[in-house]
């Protein structure tokens, strides 16, 4: 009896060591996150900071780090998506905010939080609840702060680009596994949660960014939406006309912004994006017998970005 009990205790002690952690464990068991906290834990990338501190700090400054909250405007748009869109449409199945499911919120989260696909509808409801608290002028500052904290727990973090979305052609390159991280090299990776390092064939390619930065209407949705169209513009107005640079080339390397990949908010990016030349000419125009003094202002702009400006 004693022997059996000891064996059982040892078995329980050994179990956590054998099981993978975090996202891997959840994936292995096919579990879905049931709350924002669980989803944040499933995609926890805070451990990356230990070895990639500078990159992590760059990312923290980016809008990717607050993809649901944004500048506040993203949260506001999620609210109107629910109240004006979903609740206003006859066949959406949403009569009140509590009716929102993942498939509804996918209008936004396909790009702003793709990992929502690994969560239950409870998380969609929790996001909507927090957005409503954050946007409600009657909410106390404390309630707003708490809602903001919840919304910023989940984002486009390291594991979204370097794992979940690191492979576009999964039949060719394989499905990303939860114990893997993808970058520019193959080998081992000194992170117990992600011990395998693999080379992503698209990590430096525009298609990586194109997964979210827009071709046009997302026809895979029951009710297509369209946020950005940058990748479509990149393909058909830039590459098709001879442009050769990638998103990463301008937004990460040339700009020296690294993982703080800004666009219009960064003044240097803005200046570099458009050649701006102005000529003026003062003269007196003769309108029949009347002499009209005037200035001609001629402006030539050449967009040097790899896509149309602005997008939206």
């Amino acid at each position: 009896m004693r022997t059996i009990r000891t064996t059982a205790v040892l078995a329980f002690l050994a179990l956590p060591l054998l099981l993978p952690t975090g996202a891997l464990a959840a994936a292995a068991e096919g579990k879905k996150a049931k709350s924002i906290d669980e989803l944040a834990k499933m995609y926890d990338s805070t451990g990356c900071k230990q070895c990639h501190e500078e990159i992590y700090k760059e990312w923290e400054k980016s809008l990717h780090a607050r993809s649901i909250y944004g500048t506040g405007r993203t949260a506001a748009t999620i609210k109107t998506t629910v109240t004006v869109g979903l609740m206003g449409w006859k066949h959406s199945g949403v009569k009140k905010p509590e009716d929102v499911e993942n498939r509804h919120l996918a209008i936004c989260t396909k790009c702003h939080l793709p990992q929502l696909a690994d969560a239950t509808d409870d998380v969609a409801k929790e996001i909507v609840k927090n957005v409503n608290i954050f946007m409600d002028p009657k909410s106390s500052d404390d309630a707003k702060n708490k809602a903001e904290q919840q919304l910023t727990k989940i984002s486009i973090n390291c594991l979204v680009c370097h794992q979940r979305n690191a492979i576009t052609h999964k039949w060719v390159d394989g499905f990303p596994q939860k114990n893997e991280v993808f970058g520019s090299k193959e080998g081992s990776h000194p992170d117990p949660a992600h011990p395998v390092m693999k080379k992503s064939p698209i990590m430096s390619e525009s298609i990586l960014c194109g997964q979210c930065h827009g071709l046009g209407p997302n026809f895979e949705l029951e009710n297509p939406s369209q946020c950005g169209t940058l990748y479509g513009s990149y393909l058909w107005a830039y590459r098709a006309e001879g442009g050769q640079e990638s998103c990463q080339e301008c937004h990460m390397r040339k700009s020296k912004l690294g993982h703080n990949m800004q666009s219009y908010n960064d003044l240097n990016m803005g200046k570099a994006a458009v050649d701006f030349r102005v000529e003026t000419l003062g003269y007196i125009w003769r309108d029949k017998a009347k002499m009209i003094p005037q200035t001609l202002v001629k402006i030539e702009m050449i967009n040097r970005a790899g896509h149309a400006i602005p997008d939206g």
Binding site: G85, I107, G216, P217, S225, F276, L296, V297, M301, G312
Partner: protein, 97 residues
Amino acid sequence: MPIPQQLGRGDKMGRGPYEKSGIIRDNGLPPNRPVLEQFEIPFPAEFVKKDGKDVTNILDYDMTVDIELIYEPFGDKDTGITWHKVTKKITLEKGGV
């Protein structure tokens, strides 16, 4: 910007991303193609008749023009970001026939 078509039909611009599907037109700057804008700005002047003839009295022969390229992410100048600013001084010649 690419002016989004409301729900992929008709001639109306969509509101939020949930309504956008398609593009009615794009009035933004396409990549690698020059876009020209011209403005004609009158100098301050008064127009009078003298001995039955039109006479123009130019009130100021100098003009300073500020030309700014402002990115307005939310469609208003309050949130606009100035990418380029050029100041030009223009002076009209005095005299002439």
